[in-house]
């Protein structure tokens, strides 16, 4: 069976215990002889490197920012789930497991999700021990709040900066290992390729990476016994997203190009509460935490005339009387109300706006705190959400205490990613993927406050075990060298690709290091310029195509259009992109061009995956497959599987392998939040 998920034997609740009981270990004296590469310093990467370093392995960790503390986990706002049941409200490991599977619309692997729920409590213990200043009540005990898709309060939080505090905890642990010498830190260093080499038995294994030093442009080689990719998600393929500017798919994609399967790329999470788009110069979208839906109520005017008057600026939200407001989530989903899962809330907002009830530019709805301020008082609301309100006010220039926020869905998280088995190992032996970079735990839709949980579960409590199981055999290999033909070939691939990207405009003398002497005179440049475009020009165009034709609602026709338009744009990119500067110095334009070249391939794969999945599930909504009242309609008979794609070479269609999903401990039902 390929790919093999390697789920351990035994009843669900015993699988992880059984695994740990029977796994192989490495003795303490041997650990320091084993080298591990970790790519990425977010929650998953930093926690993995810190834990592996503490065990005694030698770790090299890489990030593309100037400090490991900048990784985009830092921007997570709302919280982290854990089945602690501190609130005595009926929570348990089993319930967190069930909520996560259901939230993912029955498209996640049972055993992985159960393990995630099982270790969730340990994460909170670990973080508190590190000094993460979680919110507390007056007794000094930890406080919780609710998130979408759950009827219990299991979310731990540190104001609206939970991701920041968890990441700083992991960063502290990582810093400690750096000072102890077990971890070596490489900043402003980007992994551009994976090195795969045959061992003595002829098994192809991950043996290292090629890194570009982003200050000097030098290509560097790093060899190791295992490689962990924790490089985050690929939401920036849509250009506008809540991701950081430097978040990209290239490290994961390099692994995919070298043979690692890429699973469920079409599962993209559109977050319902983001600040709406306001101009074409816009570089990113800002999230307003899901936690706001604890107290904020979402509405649009009941009457179209009111919506139109608001759009014309003749009326404001406070002019609309209570009985003329349509709290559409509370109306459609009385049981969960404003706390339905993200995919459901996003589609409902789109439905209202498409029907003509949108406010602002027409692509926005209100998130209103009037009732919460009346009920709790302004002080309490300020204490809970102050920093989010401030952030909103700075961007939009209106006061959310006085006027409701305007929000609209935006690309936020990608459930798809590198295919991994139960050990978080990809289809390349020795290559592991953790955090958002893998596909494993969220199915077709991730619940709020579960990304932080998964990243830290992978890094603190899964990889230290499963990597050791793999490395136990690698002690016989000895030091892995980087002066091998496999490294030569990988470096050559990188060099050629950089030359190709720099050379497109370079052959006309428009790029700094073309080295071609017959470049046109300056007077001729302006005529050539009109044919050439910046990387951002192409990235924005790609984003518009993906959002329009492969976004919140997809159809066979829209996907065919997307496929064609992406291919045309990609062809134009390779003829007319202008990458200025030189490859041997700091050059953000070159970095962006490299990322975009990968996004084109990924975009084609997302479209192919969305096309083959003839059903609606979670974040993947095919308009052909919906119920009479517009809800997702799954096809469990034909699509209860993971689609794992295999790279076939540049400009070749990829082939799909399937991993069937079996649910033994869970009853499969229609996802109903009414």
């Amino acid at each position: 069976m390929f790919p093999d998920s390697k789920i351990p034997e035994g009843p669900l609740a015993q699988k992880w215990t059984n695994y740990k009981t029977n796994q192989k270990l490495v003795n303490p004296a041997n650990k320091r002889k084993l080298d591990i590469i970790v790519v990425g310093t977010g929650l998953a990467g930093a926690s993995a490197a810190a834990s592996l370093g503490a065990l005694g392995f030698h770790v090299d960790i890489f990030c593309l920012q100037d400090s490991p503390r900048r990784a985009h986990s830092i921007a997570a706002q709302g919280g982290i789930n854990a089945a602690k049941n501190y609130q005595n409200d009926g929570d348990s490991v089993m319930r967190l497991f069930r909520d996560t599977i259901k939230g993912g619309d029955y498209r996640a692997r049972e055993a992985n999700v159960y393990r995630l729920a099982e270790v969730s409590g340990d994460i909170i213990d670990q973080c508190v021990a590190q000094g993460v200043p979680f919110a507390r009540d007056y007794s000094g005990m930890l406080d919780n709040r609710s998130f979408g898709g759950a009827q219990v309060s299991r979310t731990f939080y540190a104001r609206g900066q939970t991701g920041q505090q968890l990441l700083l905890g992991a960063y502290g642990a990582l810093s400690r290992e750096i000072s102890r010498g077990t971890v070596t830190l490489h900043t402003r260093s980007e992994m551009l390729d994976l090195v795969v080499d045959n061992d003595a038995q002829g098994v192809a294994r991950a043996r290292g990476i090629i890194v570009r030093n982003m200050v000097t442009g030098d290509l560097e080689r790093y060899a190791a016994h295992a490689v962990v990719v924790a490089s985050g998600g690929y939401g920036n393929v849509y250009y506008l997203s809540t991701n950081a500017m430097n978040s990209n798919v290239s490290a994961a994609w390099a692994c995919h190009r070298q043979g690692a399967l890429f699973a469920n790329p079409c599962y993209v999470q559109i977050h319902p509460t983001c600040i709406p788009v306001h101009g074409d110069y816009q570089s990113k979208l800002t999230l307003m935490s899901e936690s706001l839906r604890n107290d904020g109520r979402i509405w649009v005017p009941k009457r179209k005339e009111d919506a139109e008057a608001i759009r014309r600026g003749e009326k404001g939200p406070n002019d609309i009387a209570e009985e003329d407001r349509d709290y559409y989530l509370e109306r459609r989903y009385p049981a969960f109300g404003n706390l339905v899962p993200r995919d459901v809330a996003s589609r409902a907002a789109k439905e209202r706006c498409d029907a003509g009830y949108g406010v602002g530019t027409g692509l926005a709805v209100y998130l209103d705190f009037r009732d919460a301020i009346q009920r709790l008082g302004r002080d309490v609301v300020e204490q809970k959400y102050g920093n989010l309100f401030q952030m909103y006010q700075k961007i939009v220039d209106t006061d959310p205490y006085e006027e409701p926020m305007m929000i609209y869905p935006a690309v936020h998280y990608t459930m798809g990613g590198l295919w991994v088995d139960y050990e978080l190992q990809t289809t390349i032996p020795g290559l592991f993927a953790a955090g958002e970079a893998n596909f494993s735990d969220h199915g077709a839709n991730r619940l709020g406050a579960s990304a932080l949980m998964q990243g830290l579960a992978d890094g603190y409590f899964v990889l230290p075990y499963t990597l050791q199981n793999y490395l136990a055999d690698q002690i016989y290999v000895g030091k892995v060298e980087s002066n091998t033909p496999a490294f030569d070939a990988a470096e050559q691939r990188v060099r050629e690709r950089i030359e190709r990207l720099m050379g497109i405009a370079g052959k006309f003398g428009l790029s700094g290091d073309s080295g071609i002497s017959d470049a046109p005179a300056n007077s001729q440049l302006s005529t050539l310029n009109s044919q050439f475009h910046s990387v951002d020009h192409y990235h924005k165009a790609l984003g518009r195509i993906m959002w329009e034709y492969c976004g919140m609602a997809r159809s066979k026709e829209s996907l065919a259009t997307a496929a064609q338009k992406v291919a045309e744009l990609e062809a134009d990119f390779y003829q007319h992109v202008c990458v200025p500067g030189t490859a041997d110095s700091m050059n953000p334009e070159l970095e962006k061009a490299w990322h975009l070249a990968d996004y084109f391939e990924l975009a084609r794969l997302i479209v192919a995956d969305a096309t083959q999945r003839e059903e609606s599930c979670g974040g993947h909504f095919r308009v052909e497959h919906q119920t009479a009242d517009g809800e997702t309609l799954r096809d469990d008979d034909h699509f209860m599987f993971v689609g794992a794609w295999e790279y076939q070479g540049e400009n070749q269609a990829e082939t799909m392998h399937t991993e069937p999903l079996h649910y033994e401990d869970i009853q499969i039902v229609n996802r109903n939040y009414k």
Binding site: S67, I74, A244
Partner: protein, 261 residues
């Protein structure tokens, strides 16, 4: 809105830098400062001429500046704008500064952080790895993965947890150092010392932590604190000077116990 920009350009750490002047037109007031720089870079690429440039290279290079999350939390961006770190708005980072804070026709001077401990890498990009080194010297609680007690077994009074959170909100951007006439890192170090020593978990290592972090700060070339509190005024996360007082108390306690200065 129209602007005249004077931007610090420097090819690399060794090169001589200088200001270059650019003009930008039709900028939306809703545009963020970094989006305005995106537009400038787009213009530089499409013009491919180094207009007004003092260096006569035929190929103009876009302006390098650090940025990432663009929502004020990663701490990656940081520009010295018209003589103020993160510009003329309070409680924001450069990425959260909007052009509506300027007037049409303004001249805007844009510089990198200026501090000995933060050398320029290129243009507006500086090397802040000194901050990482201070944290590595002891800015953490030593809690090896696994074996932590149940989270609610450690009770933290709410006001202490809140105060620790106030200090922990530091994003490590370096504005405090850039604002300080002595380029002191005191507020950055104090915020971490305060965050960890306010919590019972951080108590066992508190004395050692303050010693190691302060010594490392001195070693890396940051200046001394002379209590002008420019750092507090310019901190985008509005971290308070009280944390410096707490650090000083702990530092003096360390000296009284016979520790080395």
């Amino acid at each position: 809105m129209n602007f005249t920009l004077h931007i610090w350009r420097q090819a690399n750490a060794q090169a001589q830098g200088g200001f270059e002047t650019y003009s930008l037109e039709n900028i939306s007031p809703d545009c963020s400062f970094l989006e305005m720089l995106d537009i400038l870079n787009e213009q530089i690429i499409s013009n491919q001429q180094s207009d007004n440039s003092t260096n006569q290279q035929p190929i103009a290079h876009p302006v390098c500046f650090d940025n990432d999350c663009r929502e004020g939390i990663c701490g990656m961006c940081g520009l010295y704008i018209n003589g103020r770190p993160h510009g003329n708005d309070d409680g924001v980072t450069t990425c959260q500064l909007h052009m509506r804070r300027f007037h049409d026709g303004d001249e805007i001077w844009v510089e990198p952080w200026r501090a000995k401990a933060f050398p320029v890498v290129k243009d507006l990009v500086v090397d802040r790895s000194a901050f990482d080194k201070i944290i590595q010297a002891g800015g953490y609680i030593s809690a090896t993965t696994g074996g932590a007690p149940d989270a609610n077994s450690i009770l933290v009074p709410k006001h202490k947890a809140d105060e620790a959170m106030d200090a922990a909100a530091c994003i490590g951007c370096g504005a405090c150092v850039a604002a300080c006439k002595n380029a002191s890192a005191m507020l950055f170090v104090a915020a971490k010392v305060s965050h960890l020593s306010l919590l019972p978990q951080g108590e066992p290592e508190a004395a050692d932590r303050v010693r190691k972090m302060v010594c490392k700060m001195d070693e890396l070339g940051f200046g001394s604190c002379t209590n002008t509190f420019a750092c507090e005024a310019e901190c985008p996360k509005q971290i308070k000077r009280q944390h410096i007082a707490r650090l000083n108390r702990q530092w003096i306690g360390h000296l009284f116990k016979g520790g080395k200065a």
